[in-house]
Subunit: 304 residues, 2 copies
Amino acid sequence: MSLLAVGTLAYDDVYTPYGEVKMIEAGSCTYIAMAATYFVQPVQVVSVIGGDYNDDFLADLQRRGSDLEGVEVIPEGKSFYWAGRYHDDMMGRDTLDTQLNVLADFDPKVPESYRKAPYVMLGNLTPAVQSRVLDQLTERPKLVALDTMNFWMDHALEDLMAVLKRIDVLIINDEEARQLSGELSLLKAAAKIVEMGPKILIIKKGEHGALLFEGENLFSAPALLLPKVVDPTGAGDTFAGGLIGYLAATDDLSFANLKRAVIYGSAMASFVVEDFGTRRMQTLDQEQIDRRVQRFGELMTVSL
Amino acid sequence: MSLLAVGTLAYDDVYTPYGEVKMIEAGSCTYIAMAATYFVQPVQVVSVIGGDYNDDFLADLQRRGSDLEGVEVIPEGKSFYWAGRYHDDMMGRDTLDTQLNVLADFDPKVPESYRKAPYVMLGNLTPAVQSRVLDQLTERPKLVALDTMNFWMDHALEDLMAVLKRIDVLIINDEEARQLSGELSLLKAAAKIVEMGPKILIIKKGEHGALLFEGENLFSAPALLLPKVVDPTGAGDTFAGGLIGYLAATDDLSFANLKRAVIYGSAMASFVVEDFGTRRMQTLDQEQIDRRVQRFGELMTVSL
């Protein structure tokens, strides 16, 4: 089962209490593709970069199973750039700089060979751009998942509400779920959000795990306890990539399998934060992933 | 198996976005005893009240299985009083007033009939008072659990460290665990705290559940999602009461049973917040408790 993923291929500067990195390859689609290709290949990437993007990094993405035909290169342009500094408690961060560059005029072009993708991950982007990807598909995918953020709720709510009607899975954090629904209780928030379109809702709670809602079904996944979080950047995208990659690989949308997918996504996210950028993702292997998934199982097993 | 519990029998004024109550019977030992007597009787209460305390409420506590021989009455004194207002998001609260009254000179007297209690719950109090309860026991209990708060870490750290050496289970929240250990990672915090004395650590995370640590064993319990939290006061004490009550009733300190106890404590806490003070605790029955425990099971079941 192929997976189509849209999002950014970016450069980040990241400052944390554990150090700093400059001009590191990052962006939502990088993290999504890096995680998803551990489960399913190809991951068909739709994105845009400037002439400045690192060819070796792109070649590595391809070697890992990403199809980059849908990555538009604007030779005279510069790639999307973000800089941020995490607080000492790693709970919050300040954005130091954002340069949209080639992302400012991003008009996604979905190659012919991607248009029947059964699984689609719409990474965090302008909702209108997310919609334009769906417009170009020639068959309704089995599953469309979408990530978004509070910025779009503030500045493009109408477009966001329009794209929500066209998706199956919404992946947001608890703060975003509360803002989108206007409800404090996540139970009430979920009930309101599923009425907006997505029949499956996943609420990420960072170090507190994730919640999965589908109809009357509810699942609470823990987060792994880590001795050290080096760089939280990309954790949400990696979670989404692992989750949808696992679903695409297993091609099973039962609630039991959705729960497993949440754990696989959580496991991938627990790796990515162990080092800066995508470094930890580059040294992973299947055995490490399986062992970590088993640790999630041990963490939550109780006989009542 | 009897359970000895020390803590406050208090009056509270509580203001929340859902309403307010004045001079409602509350206090750590009230919540502990109300929860624990659903599992084990008698709960032998050690506390102090003024002549103003409601006789009908005390009679109800007795009817439910609390032994009040250890409750000292100071006829001319006034009972401990606390007033607080919860923020609109129910995540924080401001203390409006605290009047120690008879608690200021509380010197706990453990009746002869309590002194061989196999299970002991030291509710949140001055650490020196918690120690004085242990001093009066004539046999080492099977299990001593202790609740404390950041106030004692700031103002009575030496006494707190002394009592920690004498207990088996410490029950605190995530913020307190970070303060006590000086570690941001709860995994590292737990490792440091168990070196202070308690071999079992339970970290409460409110709406995010609870963590249980014992040696290499680790368990993450979810919180139930509630449509509405009316009054969070006493949730931590009710959790502790349910947990130790369940342990005393089952008299099984295996890790498997400690995990079950955390779920029973969580279930009791999920009830108490549904109404002001102890109101919801007064209408509970065993079937409701069992059904709710099963809901926890459903929330966390995954086949990996």
